[in-house]
Amino acid sequence: MMPAGLIIWIWGQLKLSQDSIAKYLIGIEAENAHLLKVTILVISFFSCLLGMFFLVFSKEKEEDEYVVDLRLKSFQLAAFVQMTFFLIAFIYMFLFKKEPSGDAGLELFLIASIFLFWFSYISCFQFSIFKNKLQANEE
């Protein structure tokens, strides 16, 4: 669910346009084509987010206090990563980038910051669990 949603969302952002929809769905009005594009993007984005939440909030096989501690540390790291990204991206966008096409950049930046938090949390948590498991099995 998560990879599929992400792939469709990226594909939609890059390739999907009103013209391409009109090419495949002959006779569709321009307004409806735009609506269809937005619907596809929203559904794919939220399915990706939902899939990620299944990963994030699923319990480990043995959920003890060490795992809870690792979760807390990963949350902290993810928060720092997102904060750094927020600051750097804001400074970059408002000082160096002139947006001719409205606020598309801002929208993308906000979506990226949502993804970044959960991605960094889940990767940090899984990495520390995996590393500890590997070391424990080596012993």
Binding site: E62, Y66, N132
Partner: protein, 54 residues
């Protein structure tokens, strides 16, 4: 007593026992008391303060 047997006795995973042994994780007071009960040893013989703890 193996790590696995100890882990089962106090209700945690083997990885947690490994993390405690290597000093990567400082367990809570409840877990320390459970450990001392499972090993039938006083807490002071299992854990001690280090220099950096002051």
């Amino acid at each position: 007593m193996t790590q696995q047997a100890l882990a089962e006795a106090i209700g945690v995973s083997r990885q947690t026992i490994f993390a405690i042994e290597t000093g990567k994780y400082i367990p809570s007071a409840i877990l320390v008391l459970k450990l001392s009960r499972a090993l039938s040893k006083p807490v002071e013989s299992l854990f001690s303060l280090e220099k950096i703890d002051g």
